[in-house]
């Protein structure tokens, strides 16, 4: 089904926070241009998976192949330079930086990133608030800033950790439209979600994560047939 051509191939990924063993052999693949979600309950290890892929967890083992290159032993700044960019769940907007400084903070890692004007076109709110302190923005605007700033860098593999969490439905729709736009521009997106109804509007495939392992994979066109199974996995 997915041969060696996948852009990201994670094999037997284990990760630890201090003494606690969080990931127990994560295994999944993401193909170029796909939008793939990691679904699962709180504490299943979805965020940890993203951080382990990005090299943000010092204690990790296994294999993370990106475009055929092994990333597992690289520090996170080198992983970012390969073209992966992470947008954390808590958004990570810097309070001592204004909106413009936040937006232009991440350095370009590859050619072909969006220009500031492209980003303002997708997120018009940001342009009007450039001088504001980053953390004075509304939750939705902060999310837009957190995603906008990684679009500038030329990274073409985006790891978005619960981008819709805590946002009003109209903003969630905007974020959904943005993810579809990114897909149409050829970006690859790995998305962490708790809300599979939202995930099904943007994604190609879904991996279900439980206890630090992938326990199932569901293609998006099969999601209707598997709703009951998904609900039991996610405990909704």
């Amino acid at each position: 089904m997915h041969n060696g051509a996948s852009e990201l191939a994670v094999r037997d990924l284990n990760a630890w926070y201090g003494e606690s063993h969080i990931l127990h052999g994560m295994q999944f693949e993401v193909n170029k241009g796909e939008v793939v979600t990691l679904l699962g309950r709180n504490g299943a290890g979805k965020t940890t998976t993203m951080k382990a892929v990005m090299g943000m967890i010092p204690s990790r083992k296994g294999s993370v192949l990106f475009e055929g290159e092994e990333l597992i032993a690289l520090p996170s700044n080198k992983i970012a330079r390969r073209g992966l960019a992470f947008c954390p769940e808590e958004r990570g907007i810097f309070s001592s930086l204004n909106v413009y400084e936040n937006l232009t903070l991440p350095p370009a890692v590859r050619p072909g990133g969006m220009s500031l004007d492209d980003i303002y076109q997708i997120f018009p709110n940001l342009k009007e608030r450039l001088k504001s302190q980053g953390t004075k923005l509304s939750g939705g605007e902060q999310q837009m800033l957190a995603i906008g700033r990684i679009l500038r860098t030329g990274a073409n593999f985006l790891l978005l950790d619960e981008p819709t969490e805590g946002l009003a439905p109209v903003i969630v729709q905007q974020i959904g439209a943005m993810i579809r736009l990114l897909k149409s521009k050829g970006y690859t997106v790995l998305l962490v979600e708790q809300n599979f109804r939202f995930a099904s509007t943007v994604a190609d495939r879904h991996y279900v994560v439980e206890h630090g392992k992938v326990i199932d994979m569901i293609a998006n066109d099969q999601i209707a047939a598997n709703t009951q199974k998904l609900e039991s996995y996610l405990g909704v």
Binding site: P75, S76, N77, A80, A85, F94, L105
Partner: protein
Amino acid sequence: MFELLGIAPQALFGQLLLGLINGAFYAMLSLGLAVIFGLLNVINFTHGAQYMMGAFVAWMLLEWVGVPYWGALVLVPIIVGAFGVLLEKVFLKRLYHLDHLYGLLLTFGLALMIEGVFRKQFGSSGLPYANPLPGGTRLDFMFLPNYRAWVVVASLVICFGTWFLIERTKLGSYLRAAVERPDLVQAFGINVPRMITLTYGFGVGLAALAGVLAAPIYSVNPLMGSNLIIIVFAVVVIGGMGSIMGAIVTGFGLGVIEGLTKVFYPEASNTVIFIIMAIVLMLKPAGLFGTPK
């Protein structure tokens, strides 16, 4: 007006100038401490010893190699800063995940060792460093020595240059961001461990630069740093740990207040800074410019 207060204008302005000079050193030293504490979370007790090393390296360059004062201003911060980089790479970086106390103990121990080596080598009576700008200007109310005027101007340039670098440039935005979320800044592709090392080197270089500026004023003495460092820590506490502007304003301000105290109530001049510190800690525990955590 001065006669009314029973104070000669010469005494007043003389002490004001002295206060401004002391304040310039408080500001430059507390600035380096603030920069280091902000990013490394280390209370750098070696700062006074590094300031002293700045003065000594300037003296050595002059006496042994013949490098004049103006050359030392450029070379000394680089030499002592490189020594700081070495300290960070060998010792400090092992302590970041531990409590502040460990960094404080380590840097305090290092300060004692460095001062001990210099005392053994050079004695503690102090070495003279020739004034590179002799002479002065006679103003209506006081005599202004050229070198002291230069120190005030140079320290203002250094302080506001550092403030600009950190608060208004791209490099500064990396530093400020890394103070908040080093992991995320690194995941954006920035080599944060190297930035931390260089920041420590920069802070140490600032202390050494202050040491060069101090050499012609105070004699070059192995204990010149430990005499100053306690007051500088009080300045940092009053200004707010990690605040750049706080360090600058409080440094100069307290120098001037100390100078004025010498005119109006000399008995309190040695303690006034600590009295202010106690009051500030009671009213604003995070310091005048600090943000409560």
